[in-house]
């Protein structure tokens, strides 16, 4: 591809972002610029607007002012391209409790570009392959987070958006998330993450404090 997804041009930036919820101003004039291979961390206390910022980035909320740009173009003008380049790990996993994880992931595969990774090897890596025949409701919260991670690994998109990815995960799971993020960045991907904890990773980290 000449433009768009080349390693040098993949970038995400935000300028003068201001967001209101009701009458309350969550944050004002926030900005960031993220290149391929970099991790963006949103830091802030509970209720500081980390989740709202991520929701507004993907278009679920509207910024009062400011603009998010993907590869130099405002995302509002290329919503489909932008949504086709990201996968969002929200606070709620967004999977169907009555379906098995294979049925859930199979459905997701019809929504966005899929990587060549084979489902079984991804499930093996995340240590959830033995849960294949079970409906999602019988999985623990941490195991459900791992299924949400599988959705990220199976999608062939440059931008990972993760809202509190460490919630409900054990120590091993947290290390796994960091390993996966690092690999993704090394491949030229981008990651924006909202997190309470300190994140230790061997990559360029940019911080936005809300």
């Amino acid at each position: 591809m000449a433009t768009g997804s080349g390693a040098l041009t993949t970038q995400l930036s935000g300028r003068d972002l201001t967001l209101f919820r009701g009458d309350r101003c969550l944050f004002q004039d926030v900005g960031f610029a993220l290149q391929a291979g970099e991790l963006l961390l949103f830091e802030g206390s509970n209720g500081s607007g980390k989740t709202s910022l991520m929701k507004a980035m993907v278009g679920l909320l509207e910024f009062e002012s400011g603009v998010i740009e993907w590869n130099g173009k405002p995302v509002g003008e290329q919503r489909q391209v932008f949504h086709g380049s990201l996968v969002w790990m929200a606070h709620r996993v967004g999977l169907k409790a009555d379906l098995t994880l294979v049925e859930n992931l199979h459905f997701e595969s019809a929504l966005r570009p899929q990587s060549a990774d084979d489902l079984d090897s991804v499930l093996e890596r995340l240590d959830i392959s033995r849960l294949k025949p079970l409906p999602l409701r019988s999985l623990s919260a941490g195991q459900q987070r791992r299924v949400a991670l599988a959705r990220m690994l199976l999608a062939d998109v440059p931008l990972w958006l993760m809202d509190e990815p460490f919630t409900n995960l054990d120590r091993e799971g947290r290390a796994l998330v960091m390993r996966l993020v690092k690999e993704h960045l090394a491949k030229g991907g981008l990651c924006a993450m909202a997190a309470h904890q300190d994140v230790e990773i061997d990559a360029t980290v940019k911080k936005v404090v809300l």
Partner: protein
Amino acid sequence: MSAPQRDVPGMLDSLFAVARRDLLLAWKRPGDVLNPLFFFAMVCTLFPLAVGPSAEQLTFSGPGVLWVAALLAMLIALNSLFLSDFDDGSLEQLLVSPQPLPLLAIGKTAAHWLTSGLPLVLVSPIVAITYRMPGSVVVVLMLTLTLGTMSLSLLGSIGAALTVGLHRGTALLSLLILPLSMPVLIIGANTVSLAAGNETYSAGVWALAAYAVGALSLAPFATAAALRISNE
């Protein structure tokens, strides 16, 4: 990215995937499907018991009762259209997917009709026996119910999308949808009455078909817009 990025799956693939997922969910929770159907069958069979078995009266009121029961059964079923998706966060995932939201809404509505409208249509001939409807009228009943329930599902998806963020929005949903569904009820019931009276009824069928086509072409866009508003 070293390899060029793969393409987004086709739009129709996503439509069918949404429909297939919802049908699978309905299959795993048959209670949700059976409830409205049970309601429809109960109203239709209890009515003759209450008003008495006079053949004249039953043939006269049959079309109206069947249609009112079908409309209310559809309303009962509508509430659940987007509710579980909203509650578990999968609606957000649909909203941030690169697929066009109106098409996903069609997929969901189609699955919803297949699990709510179609069962009513299929059960109606059995229920119609109670009202001594001749076979030729039953065919008209099924035809009008098919077209009518399609319109109701499509119109209802707008209301369901608007009220999904409000807890207990059922009353509001009915209030929003009933005015829009009145033409369907009036034309549907009258068409069956005309057919029962051996008069020409084709105009009513065409009108219902036109209404369904109109709903199909406009409702998905309204539903998509309503879903975006509800998710703010």
